[in-house]
Structures are given as C-alpha cells and as structure tokens.
Subunit: 429 residues, 2 copies
Amino acid sequence: MTTIVGFRTTDVRFATSTLLDGSDAMNPDPDYSAAYLIITTDAADGHEGHGFVFTIGRGNEIETTAIDALAPWFLGRNVESMLDDMGGLWRELVYDSQFRWLGPEKGIMHMAIGAAINAMWDLKAKRAGLPLWKLLSSLSPEAIVALVDFRYLQDAITPAEALSILRSALPLRAEREASLLADGYPAYTTTPGWLGYSDEKLARLSEEAVRDGFRQVKVKVGANRADDLRRLGIVRSVVGPDIAVAIDANQAWGRDEAIERIRELQQFDLAWVEEPTHPDDILAHAAISAAIAPTPIAAGEHAANRVLFKQFLQADALQVLQIDATRVAGVNENIAILLLAARFGVPVCPHAGGVGLCEIVQHLAMFDTIAVSATTQGRVMEFVDHLHEHFVEPAEVHDGRYWPPILPGSGAEMLSESVAANAHVHALR
Amino acid sequence: MTTIVGFRTTDVRFATSTLLDGSDAMNPDPDYSAAYLIITTDAADGHEGHGFVFTIGRGNEIETTAIDALAPWFLGRNVESMLDDMGGLWRELVYDSQFRWLGPEKGIMHMAIGAAINAMWDLKAKRAGLPLWKLLSSLSPEAIVALVDFRYLQDAITPAEALSILRSALPLRAEREASLLADGYPAYTTTPGWLGYSDEKLARLSEEAVRDGFRQVKVKVGANRADDLRRLGIVRSVVGPDIAVAIDANQAWGRDEAIERIRELQQFDLAWVEEPTHPDDILAHAAISAAIAPTPIAAGEHAANRVLFKQFLQADALQVLQIDATRVAGVNENIAILLLAARFGVPVCPHAGGVGLCEIVQHLAMFDTIAVSATTQGRVMEFVDHLHEHFVEPAEVHDGRYWPPILPGSGAEMLSESVAANAHVHALR
C-alpha cells in the first residue's frame, strides 16, 4: 500500500519573448512557462507523478497557487485506490462545488485540476512501466468509458455509443500500433510562421521545413492585412503547390471581418483556418465555416472544456479538432473529447508547441489512432522546435513525423536541472 | 493630479455552510467569501476604491492571488487619466496577452480583472459624490458606448445600434429616475427555497416572503425528483396562485433529463426555470427552451463573458437574462451585456445573494432601467437576506422592492471591522 507524501509545485518560466518565438496576432511576446507539479509517494520504486499547466508568463504564479490548493485532496491518500479509479478522481475534483464556482470548469482552476490529474496518469504509467499512449491503448473499452463523465454529453454521445466506437477499434489495435511504430504519426510545423519573424526568416525556415520532410506548414495571420497577403505569397512560392499551408488568426477577428479576410486569403489554397474568432463563439465559428467552405476551420486549443467541444461538433463549427494537453481537466477530459470527435467523424489534429505540449499531447494522439478513431487519415500533429531539451524524453520528430515515445510516463517530466534553473521567485509585496 | 499608492487584497470568508444557507443541487455547502480589493490614492479626499470577487469558499486565496497580480497595472499610475478612460483600462487589462491566456476571458483571471475595474468605478463614483447608478445614468450615450469593446459583438450589436438604444432612452431618463425613486425596483426572494432547508422552514419562509411583499419566490430543485415535486407543491399551496414561483436547478441536469424533469414541474405554473444545465451549453439551453415554451429559461450568473451572453441571445436560449456583479470583467462588460439584452428585447433580472452581490448589482439594474432598457416591465431582482450587515450601505429592500442606494460609490464597500474579523489566513505549506 502506497501513500502520497509530496505535492510540490514550481513556477517555471523561460524568457522566450526576447526572440519573438511564439509571437502571433494576440500574443506578441509570450514567455513560455509551466506551473509545474511533482507528486511523490512513499513507495520504494521512487516513481513520481509529473504534470503541469502551460502558460505564457505573467500569472503563472496564480496557476501555481491553484495547483497548490489541491494538495489536501492528495496528501496522505492511498495511491492504488486513486489510480484504480481515475474516473472517480476526476469527478471528485471537477465537481468539488467550491472549486467549481471559480470556473465553472474553465480557466485557471480547471487547468490546475488537469495538471493534478495528468500527474496521476504520469505516475500510473511509470508504475506500469509503460509510455502513457501504450497504457491507455491497453485498457478495455469498458475501462476507457469509465474514465469519462457523461453528465453533460449524452445529447451527443451516450456511454453505449462510446463503447461501440471503442469496440469497433479493438480488433484493429495491433495493426494500428504496428503501423504507428513503423511509420510514425504525421507532423506539421509552425516554426517558420511566427508573426514577429522577418520575411527572410519566414522564407528560409519554410524551405528548411520542406527539406526536413514536413508536408504542412502553418503561418500566423490576423494583424496587418497587407502583411498577411505578402507573407502567405512568400510561403506558397517557397514551398510550392504540393505542401499544405494552414493559417492561424489566434482569435483576432470578429465574425464578419473573419469571413472577409479569409476569403481574400483563400487564393493561397489553405489547408485550414485556425481560431478565426473568439474561442467561445460557437455560433460565429459555424457562420464562418459555412461562408468559407470547403476550407475547414480548426479550433480547440482554447476551448475550455468538453461541453464547448460538444457544441462545436453539433453546430459543424469546426472541421479539424485541436485538443490541447493542458487546457482542459487532463487525460480524462481529453478522452471524452476524442470520443466526441470520433462520434462526429471529425479528425483530431492536436495543438502543441509552447513548452512540453508536444511531449504530452503525442500520447493522446497515438492513443486515438490506435484505440479510438483507428486512423491517421486527415490527421497531423503540430510541432514547434522549442525547449524540447528540457524534457527527460524530448519529442522525437524527424522525416516530418512524430515517433512514439519509449520511456514510461506521460512525457511531462522536465529535467530537474531545468526546473531548478528556470524557477521563478515571485516577489512578495 | 492623483496617484494610486495602495492596492491591497484580503481573503474574506464567512462560515455560511454551517446553516446550509445557500445550499443547492450543485453547491451543498458554500462558505460565502470575497476576494476583496482596496485601492488607495494620495489624494487628500481619502476616497478608496473597493471591489471584490464573490466565491463560495475554497480557492478564495487563488482569486486573491489573481487580483494581486494586477497591482503593477495600478500602483504609481495617474488616477484622473485612468478614470477618464475606463474603456481603455478595460481593454488594457482584458487583452493583456499573458493574462488572457489563463482564460481566455473567463474564470479566475477574468473575475480578478472585474474586481479591479469595479474598484475603479467605486472610486470614480465616490470622487463624483454619486451612487454608481446615478453616475452611470448621467453619462452621455457616446460616453457609455466608449466603455464597451465591440470586437466580438458586432454580429449582434454595432456601436451605432448601441448608441441608438441609449439615445432612445435619453428623453425618458428623468421620468424613469423619478419612478425608481418613488416606486423602487421589483425584488424577488430566494431565502425560502434553499435545498438544505426542511419542509417546515420552506413553508414558513415562503409565507413570510409573501407577507413581506414579495410577488415572486424561487425554489431550488434538481437533486431528488420526489423532493422537487413535494417542495414545489408546498410552496404553491402556501403562496397561492397569484405569486410567481421560479425554480433553479443550478446546472444539475443534462439536456434531455432537463426537459423531462421540467415538464413534470410545469404543473406548478413556473415563472422561469433557471440554469437547467451546464452554463456553457448554449445549444442545450436552446433545445430545452424550445421544448418547455412558453416557460422561460433564466440564465447568466455563470456565463463567463459577453460572448456567451451574445450567443444565448442569438440562439433564443434564454428569455430572462441574469447579470452577475462579479462573474464578468466588471461594470464595462455588464454594460455590454445590458446593451445586448436591450437589442434583443430580453428582460434583465440580476442574480444576487452571496455576499455583497445585492449591494453592487442593484446599481447596474437601476442604470439599466433609467438609461438602457428604460423599463422595469418583466424585471425582478434577486434578494437573499444574508450578510448585508457587513456593508457600509446594506441593500434597502422592503415592500418587495429594492430602494435606490444613496451613498456615493458602487455599494461594494464592506465595513472595515467585517473585513478584519473575517480575514482568512491561508497556511503556507
């Protein structure tokens, strides 16, 4: 019998804004940060559970405080019984009425719960000696359904329907896993297209991306109209007609402005348009979607919870669903979202980048391709070449593909030297 | 020229859970709390700006930390230039990209910004020597429109349309104000109907409510089906056929369950059904609304921002719009929401209760009735008789009506003894 004896947070920040890495129409100067959690136990195995929330700088201390507030839910509790009922743990935390008031089920508190849930999944995978994608892909359909709370989802997917999706994939799992190990998972890169980069750097990095084997690049748009046209012209001429080019407006526009601006950019043959407007605006996304068809809309990195994803799917407001590893309440809620996507036949193309998002989200995408959607058709996972060196097992991307991680755990574990070297001390006033 | 010299927060908590005051289907044991902010200046007038976020206990320290993070935006700045451009201040805070990542525009960070914005309105009203409702009702239509950010609203209301609504009300302002001073603003009470109260207490308090002049009471439902039927039967028999009876499920149901349960309760002649399901679920509210018509749906106390309210109105997903004083980013965002409600012809019936919510939200309702909707038709403001004694100017409710506050400010100022006596010291681990 094992007990949780440590629940320790660190406010970790990297000064990325100095190079304009990660700059876009809404986020001109992000400092990639992590509100970082380590859960320790009294077991002799020495396994720790690591999890974090990705933020872009200021306010990372608030996110860290929010994770701290969960410590009484963990310290002193029995590890085995918690890990045996991860669905119950999720409900216990998400439906705690006093914490729920702070969202409900959105923003700082919901993400903090996600970090704690994810740290427990990291611990569970390490104790099983498996990478998380493999652990999840080994669960029975019944065990997977038990991880999901269907209270607000039944008008879109029932537990029985979820079971039937997972059972259909069951006979394909071995073949899907073999194909993943042999061929990897398709990646695209956002590295060339940050808004703060010069035209020369944009052209050079786009060329490099194609040479590195990527079949899709993404370009940030949404600030200056003339810049968008010029930059997309450069990218399209450098990569040629066979490489997919997606654009990302990072919520810069209102509904009608989005339609007007996107129509002007459709001449560049767009793979998708990402976040054209406010991430809560399901009805505006649906209207934009109808107006720019057949160009798909991609969204989800800022969708606060499964209820928003459900509506985006019900309203045909997105055609490419982008899960994020740390925006919602962890692995369980992302499984709910993967099931919803499968139910509606919409491809999942994870959001990544930031710090550590590639390392974690790849596990969910690989689980999806083995045990849920059972395909990589129409799927492509974001890759940005930043800050991977800080992780125990950096995402392995070459030949334009992600390659399955091997080490036990969820991918969240940062090198202890990196955590220590980038720990941010918040001045008390 | 005045400078901000203090930005001080306190984690204030009241142990309300011991009496089951405020208990409902999702919130069994709230401890009403306030993440409380006082802004001070170097002016000789001694005026302070007070604002807070209402929470229900655990996590109030996170909300307080979030308000603290805003201090660098205030300390040392010129008061007059900030107060002269409250629209600019709102945009500066809400669109700060690093803070915005933590929502975006929802949850702990967004509410923290609301507390700071509201504290500045409190200061502005005190410096003007006016209660906030009177200050707002004295602004020109142009000045009011300048407070609102229309980036994501133009598909529902343009600045020109907002101006036209406000200009139509302009000639009626004097008459509307006189009628408010003479007749007050209609109130309803939730005091009888908390879920944790016995049948005897429910009956007794319902009777008292009618005797006190209330024309509407509200009953909590959504936990046990048989309890709901029995309790509504008691209330309807006690208050008779002429008193309006509303119910509040506090998000307990999924879409189809909501429809089934509400249909069963419609025999009691319901004034409205509040929060039947998840507050982000616009499409489910629209479906429930269509299924239970003509019974109206009331919602909004947990709607995180103006973009959600916009969609609720566009989808006819609510027929009674409930603003909340501390859920969104302050007075400015609530003005945006009042304008949206007026544009769609939907009555605003504010959410109140908690601690201090009645004291603040009445200013917004009274501004609405004087300068925006220019009516009290179909309007009724929530009243719960808790914790008013802690405020400098407790809400004045008698004869079933709110009576306009007189003291300068926004109503947010708590007695300094109450702040000190209920300050919660959070143990550092």
